[in-house]
Each structure stands twice: as structure tokens, then as C-alpha cells.
Amino acid sequence: MTEFTPVSSAVGGGLIGWATSLLLLANGRVAGISGILAQALWPGSGEARGWRFAFLVGLPLGASLVVGLQGTLALEIEASPVELVIAGLLVGFGTRLGNGCTSGHGICGISRGSPRSLAATATFMLIGGLTVLLMRAGLAGRL
């Protein structure tokens, strides 16, 4: 149960938009986090990893700045450790198979007008919603 927070959501979302725009304009790169992580870990031939690690380090760094300002970081994890392992495996495998996640498809791809990204985003939103529905219907706690 969380409260609707339109203002902080819009301000935070705006920052995310500035972040993807900066990476696009300064580096010519798409801020797709699953792809950046995978290619930082397993670089293709001739691919630079320095900027990828720098970007990835920035994520917890940016969150820590907000924690410094607000004092707390809300973190309510309902999933059990086993559910977290299954979810992590699916997120890791699925984002590589589908070539993107919420950032790469959901924000960068849709803002570029990519039909592939729109289809991917519609799919993971729909399936994510169905999964929550099934968990609420009684699967939760059984894993």
C-alpha cells in the first residue's frame, strides 16, 4: 500500500529524462540499464567499458544524494528470498532476450518513436500486471 505522489514522481521522472538526454547528446548512447550492465560485464570486441562502469556507479550514487537530502530511502520488499532469486533470473534473462528494460525500451525507445520498444513496453507492463494479479490471487508466499 503506497500513496500517490504526483509531484515527486514528475520531478524524479524529469531527472530521468535529463539523464537519458545527457547520455544521448554527450555520449551518443542509449541509457538502457540492462544493456549497459551486460556490456560492462561482458564487453564486445572493441567496446569501451569505462563509461558504462561510470554510469552504473552513478545510479546508487544519485540515490545516496537523495537519501542525504531526505534522510531515508523507502524500501519495502514483499518478495521472499526465493521469489527474489526467480525474479532476478527472469529479469536478467528476459531483458537480454528482449534487448531492453524499462529504461532502454520504456523511456529511450519510446521517446525515439521505436515501434519495437512500444511493443516491448506494452508487453512487460501487461505481463507485470497479470503477475501481480496472480500473486495477489494466492500465489504469494507459496514460493
Binding site: M1, F4, T5, P6, S9, V11, G12, G13, G14, I16, G17, T20, S21, L22, L25, A26, N27, G28, R29, S34, L41, W42, G44, W51, A54, L56, V57, G58, P60, L61, G62, L73, L75, I77, L84, I86, A87, G88, L89, V91, G92, F93, G94, R96, L97, T102, S103, I107, S111, G113, P115, R116, F124, M125, I127, G128, G129, T131, V132, L133
Partner: protein, 152 residues
């Protein structure tokens, strides 16, 4: 160093945006996906604001010459180095598997990495499993998909 500095700033802005909008909190993401329950539409506001700013960035990028930055290609390439295909089974299947994991835990890659700052062992479990999942995909890609491609 210039590319590393701009990437660090971009990642930091991204992480700050995720934390400020509370997308680092799985309960908030699940509350968005839970349309039949106590629905929290916050994630739609995050996406909407991010998309409106990002679209501005895309428009500026399109008006620039391709040589203005380190861009080697205007279109991102698929993982195998081949140009991105159309809407195919691999795209939809991958997005569907990702959707199951996302709904199960309330974490996608960006918020999970940003939440590492909490020091929570549960976040570490998720991130470690996600990396293993990416590694399993590399194996799957080499063994199954490569075989399927060469068989064609």
C-alpha cells in the same frame, strides 16, 4: 575521460530521479501494476515526465550532425551486433519474461542497482540473480539461438 564524466553525471541524475520518485521502492512499483487493488498511478507520472524530457533530447540529437559526438550509429544494435529486427518472438518473449520477474519482485534493473545503496541483502540477492540471468542468456544465445540462426 569526457565520456566517463558525462556518463557518471547521467547515471547520478538517473539514480537521483529513481530515488526521488520512489521507483527504488518495489512496493510502489507493484502498487502501480496492481490495477485491481489499491492502485498507485505514480509510475505513470514518472514515465510521462521522463518521456517528455527525453523526447526533447531526441529532437535535439536528430538535428545535430552525426559526427557531433561519439555516436557510431543512430540506431542501437541488437545484442549479436546485427541490426535490430522488427517486432518478433524474441522481443515479445524477452519482454514477457522480464514482466513476470518485474511483477514478482517489483524490481527492474535500474532501481535494483540504485537500491544497492540501502545495503539490503535482499537487493543484493536480486542483483546477483539478475547478473546470473544475464549470464544464462549469453549461454542460451550461443547454444540455442546461434544454432537456430545457422540452421536457417
Amino acid at each position: 575521460m569526457k565520456f566517463e564524466a558525462s556518463a557518471l553525471l547521467s547515471g547520478t541524475l538517473f539514480g537521483a530521479g529513481l530515488a526521488l520518485s520512489q521507483m527504488t521502492n518495489p512496493a510502489k512499483v507493484i502498487a502501480f501494476l496492481d490495477v485491481t487493488g489499491a492502485w498507485d498511478p505514480s509510475l505513470a507520472f514518472v514515465m510521462g515526465a521522463a518521456l517528455s524530457v527525453a523526447t526533447g533530447g531526441q529532437i535535439i540529437q536528430r538535428r545535430r550532425r552525426p559526427s557531433a559526438n561519439g555516436s557510431t550509429s543512430p540506431q542501437p544494435l541488437a545484442s549479436g551486433g546485427v541490426p535490430a529486427a522488427g517486432i518478433d518472438a524474441q522481443l515479445i518473449g524477452g519482454a514477457a519474461l522480464f514482466g513476470i520477474g518485474w511483477g514478482l519482485a517489483g524490481f527492474c534493473p535500474g532501481p535494483a542497482l540504485a537500491s544497492l545503496v540501502s545495503g539490503s541483502p535482499r537487493v543484493m540477492i536480486f542483483v546477483a540473480s539478475m547478473i546470473v540471468g544475464m549470464g544464462l542468456y549469453r549461454f542460451f544465445d550461443r547454444v540455442v539461438l546461434l544454432r537456430a540462426r545457422t540452421a536457417r
